[in-house]
Amino acid sequence: MARLYAVEVVYRGIFQKTLAKNITRAIVLAAHREGKHGISFGRYGDSPERNGIPAKGFAIVADDELTLEEGMAKYEPKEVDVTICVDDTLCKGVESWAWYGLQPINRLLKPGGTLIVTSLETPERLIAMSHRKETPYKLAIVKGAASFSGLWVYKDDHTDARVLGAVARVLPELFSIGSLQETLRAENKKTGDLLAVSAQKSFDRTTTITVAPGQGNAEVPYSFEMPKWTEMREGIAIPAIAHGHQMTDETNGATGGFQPARNATFKKYLTRTMRPVVDFEKCIKCTLCWIACPDSVFDVTPEGLYDANLAACCGCGVCEAICPVEKCVTMVNETAFTDNASQWEAFRKDAPAYKSWLLTAIENRPERSHGFRYRGQYEEQIPAMIGNGGE
């Protein structure tokens, strides 16, 4: 019986689009060196040219062409042998631009399949971020910060080679490390030898741990029912967002400020890699974040503070960039959070506890960012990455 293999790469558009393509292409080419056939493609509806949008690329490989055709006869695989997640914040779930709600990172994994994540986090943390699954799967970590090296010009930091080395380790039937190295050399005339070394190192170091059924985030991922055609309003018309309203401070009953109404169905969770964290004690109520935010994220509280409503935030970081007060609005990596709860409500309930949480969150935040503040950050980080275990 000929075998069909499927690998998906979950990545952030636009920065990781070339990275994802490099990985899926190399998978097909390496497997082809062993006589297999395959295709590599990105999910068309993802609109991966958009900044930070979660997107997917796939490699489908089969022992023969007829089996491959069976794998190609669907828009995208219904199950995969390996899921590669090249930004660990996406372990919390994937929200496609063509929107279907929040999809668990491990949703497509076959029983016993492997989730490969590029991350500096611990396995325990990544498992806690990922939704529970009814069947066991394996987790492998390729140690390193998320590669955001490719906007318009792709700068190879060997994340592709290292991820591919890990694939050769966890799914040796797909392709061997030797075939991978031949492919990397053939496809990259100048850097092929170095890439092959990186792939070998990663192959040697990759280990997996098994995630048991029921282990992980117990929350039911956000989903919604798609209406039937007879249930939809005609004329491509949908209810508009209603008018906003005053806010209420639960701690003292004060009312005032303004909270815009928001789309009850289209909520954001992981369309961002970072979120704004607000130090309300530093806020001078200048309104700039509220004015500049392209998604009307900020709720105006009764006392005139600005609370980021995270179901509306796509994490662009313009609020941090425009805020005139140092460390008043700070973009913090999503791995630091487990929910979309209101920061202002936490602040009102217990200001000292909030301050302490805030300082911890800011201090522990991973540096990687593709927001406004860190233009050129990638160059700054290269020395640290090279020093990072010599990888």
Partner: protein, 407 residues
């Protein structure tokens, strides 16, 4: 509604000598259209001239906007209709083509626009004369398409078109095709109904929950992908399907209120009761065809004519049942479809498709004639009829034949 009875009891209509274009402009006045946009192209421009005259004379109170192109012309009325205005516009030939993007979004958004297409050959060459390819280009997009052959029918059909298009069960645009020159530029005696009669027939446009208004906050046409599009298309397919019965209702009401009878709205049958063979066509070629038929009948040839009015929705079942009665059928297209099955005209291709499931399928011939406004002569019609008779006798011949061509 109390006025309605009075209007029917005391119809005060008058007769005027007007062109088909003028008849459409009069229908705009009687329908009390709110927003009209215009951009000149012959032969449609005769309508905009008459509308401008009505506005200038204070006979018609509407927003009359001369746009900078046909694309804007159709976009403006699309938006006006979305906010609840009854709208009218029109064009011809490549002008209609220039509006194509607007023409595609209009039915998608369920805008009950009524437009007049003064049928004109598509450029190049820049011929003024009639061809039906301009209006037919939108046949797959959700536009209702109707052809008329007299100025009277143009006026009546415009009123009917508003009633059908603005019916909540339909909410699809309707284009009324008027052959350039033969209809747009020829004056005929037209009965103009009194306003009260029209008011009794035509309810006010009510956009309901699709009205774009601050009191009804909606978002129209958000981006949607493959997970929504089939449902949206299916809704529009259902609306076009419902249009069939709404058209029947509208003609029945029209007859009751105006006292003028059109019979089967979808196609007119002329001398078909005992006919051996028939020709099928659309628009003003009905005139030479009917004259030729009367001649041939004097010679003992039992020939009939089926004039298709509504091309969308296409009354396939009724038409197939009717055409199944005859020994052979010739379909006269004032258009073409290059590379189509059997290299025929658009109407012929549609009729063939409609006939396929029929129990009785007579031989069908496709005729291409009268392109670019070339005259379809009585001898042309007689020649086509002879060929159809030969097909009825089983003589093999080309499926598609060009008539009136120098060869």
């Amino acid at each position: 509604m109390a006025q309605m009875g009075a209007a029917i009891e005391q119809p005060v209509e008058h007769t005027a000598l007007i062109t088909g274009s003028e008849a459409i402009a009069v229908a705009c006045k009687l329908a009390d259209v709110d927003v009209i946009t215009a951009y000149p192209i012959r032969p449609y421009d005769t309508v905009m001239q008459y509308v401008a005259k009505l506005v200038a004379n204070g006979e018609l109170d509407c927003e009359y906007i001369v746009a900078e192109s046909e694309h804007s012309q159709f976009e403006i009325v699309k938006h006006a209709s979305a906010v609840g205005a009854r709208v009218f516009c029109g064009s011809s030939g490549v002008g209609w083509m220039y509006a194509f993007e607007a023409l595609t979004v209009t039915p998608a958004l369920r805008i009950p626009m009524v437009a007049m297409v003064g049928n004109r050959a598509l450029d190049d060459p820049g011929a003024f004369g009639v061809e039906h390819n301009d209006a037919l280009a939108v046949r797959d997009l959700g536009w209702q398409l109707v052809w008329v052959d007299t100025a009277q029918e143009a006026l009546d059909t415009a009123l009917i078109a508003y009633r059908v298009a603005e019916d909540r069960r339909v909410f699809l645009p309707c284009a009324i095709s008027c052959d350039g020159a033969f209809l747009t530029h020829s004056q005929a005696l037209v009965k103009i109904p009194p306003q009260e009669t029209v008011d009794a027939f035509l309810p006010r446009y009510n956009r309901g929950d699709l009205l774009l208004h601050p009191d009804n906050p909606i978002t129209v046409a958000p981006q949607a992908n493959e997970d929504w599009l089939m449902e949206i298309r299916r809704q529009n397919a259902a609306a076009m399907e419902r249009a069939h019965d709404v058209i029947l209702e509208a003609y029945a009401q029209f007859e009751r209120i105006f006292g003028r009878r059109y019979g089967n709205p979808f196609f007119e049958e002329y001398e078909t009761a005992d006919a051996d063979v028939v020709l099928v066509g659309m628009g003003t070629l009905s005139t030479p065809v009917k004259v030729a038929i009367r001649q041939m009948r004097k010679e003992g040839k039992r020939v009939g004519f089926v004039r298709v009015r509504w091309f969308r929705p296409f009354a396939a079942v009724e038409l197939a049942r009717t055409l199944g009665r005859f020994a052979a059928v010739g379909i006269v297209d004032r258009d073409f479809s290059f590379g189509s099955p059997y290299l025929s005209g658009v109407l012929a291709t549609e009729v063939r498709a409609a006939m396929y499931p029929a129990v009785r399928r007579p031989p069908l011939l496709s005729f291409i004639c009268g392109l670019g406004g070339r005259e379809v002569t009585v001898p042309d019609v007689r020649r086509m009829t002879d060929l159809v008779y030969q097909a009825a006798d089983g003589k093999q011949q080309a499926s598609t034949q060009w008539i009136g061509l120098r060869e």
